[in-house]
């Protein structure tokens, strides 16, 4: 196919009038490495599409399917990758650390002892990841509340500092 034919085909391509077969002809022309100078900008476009089409995955979906189907015989399922497990574990560790710091430094000792006893009495072992996320979200909400209160106290303190007259100021 000569350059004139390719240009005509390209015009129809941009009008979304080409068939799949004609689009294949265009792809082959632009992949051939002998592109007319005037048409070079379009070569990058077809080259990009060709490289996108060559993307593959090496993941073994059958392996993942085995573990999913063995653990979930029926009903809806949700796939959670290892990365998300790590994220959840990191979130849980952060919550645990923050809770420990709150109990140790922000709550008076007597109250803290009572809280520990209450916590131990209410201890629940969570197996379901979805439920674990819910518990984590609740804990985050409580922590956010604590931080909000502290933030308000800080703001009020800052306001008082701002309003304090400075000796020697003009």
């Amino acid at each position: 196919m000569n350059t004139k034919d390719i240009k005509a085909l390209l015009d129809r391509y941009f009008e979304a009038e080409t068939s799949l077969e004609e689009e294949k002809t265009l792809r082959q022309y632009f992949a051939g490495g002998d592109v007319d100078a005037e048409l070079k900008p379009y070569a990058s476009m077809f080259g990009y599409f060709a490289q996108e089409a060559a993307i593959t995955t090496e993941k073994d979906f059958l392996k993942g399917l085995d573990s999913q189907t063995h653990t979930q015989a029926s009903g809806s399922s949700k796939v959670i990758s290892m990365r998300r497990w790590v994220q959840m574990a990191a979130a849980a560790s952060a919550i645990f650390l923050a809770s420990f710091l709150v109990v140790k430094y922000m709550i008076p000792q007597e109250e803290s002892t009572n809280l520990s006893q209450t916590t131990a009495a209410n201890y629940v072992e969570v197996q379901d990841p979805e439920e674990a996320i819910e518990y984590t979200e609740d804990a985050i909400r409580i922590l956010a509340q604590v931080f909000k209160t502290s933030e308000k106290q800080l703001e009020s303190g800052m306001e008082r500092i701002d309003n304090t007259p400075v000796i020697g100021a003009q």
């Binding site: 029926s74 796939v79 959670i80």
Partner: protein
């Protein structure tokens, strides 16, 4: 076994599912999660799937729906870097040709990134995966006319941007 037969068939186009999920999500781990979820659904619904003529289109639709669930509320997905692509338009490239190709590729990627999501999706299904208008309509839920109009607009945008770029 029915399940095995259908899973074997779906394995043939796992890369298409992965590329589509990757295009919508812009992240390989999320894309793999989505494809894994498609396989689970195929496994669970293998009895019903037997009655579906175009199983590939069905799997692409499931991939799309799962990916859309995942991206809800996220920022727009951007293509990778120009450095991820190695394309040279000439058999005997000079440094100038290599530079021009990279600049053109950059324009193509920026233009595609700037398209509305549905146009990105349609141009991917047509120009990367080679689906017919009818198949794209089946996968996306748009009418064939909408598919054609949006493909036209996306390609016109690319043409305009590439033509306006002069060295």
């Amino acid at each position: 076994m029915q399940n095995d037969k259908i899973i074997k068939e779906v394995m043939k186009y796992k890369d298409k599912l992965y590329r589509f999920a990757l295009k919508l999500l812009g992240n390989d781990l999320d894309a793999e999660d989505v494809v894994q979820e498609v396989f689970v659904k195929v496994w669970q619904k293998s009895d019903q799937l037997d009655a579906i003529d175009n199983k590939q289109a069905w799997c692409m639709t499931v991939t799309r729906n799962l990916a859309i669930d995942k991206i809800r509320g996220r920022k727009a997905v951007m293509s990778g870097s120009v450095d991820d692509y190695h394309f040279i338009s000439d058999k005997n490239p000079t440094p100038d040709i290599i530079t021009e190709d990279r600049e053109n590729l950059s324009i193509v990627m920026k233009t595609l990134d700037g398209l509305p999501e549905h146009q990105k999706e349609i141009i991917h299904l047509r120009d990367v995966e080679g689906y017919t208008y009818k198949e794209i309509a089946d996968i996306t839920g748009y009418s064939e006319d909408q598919v054609k109009v949006n493909l036209f607009r996306a390609r016109q945008k690319l043409k305009h941007e590439l033509r306006n770029f002069t060295y």
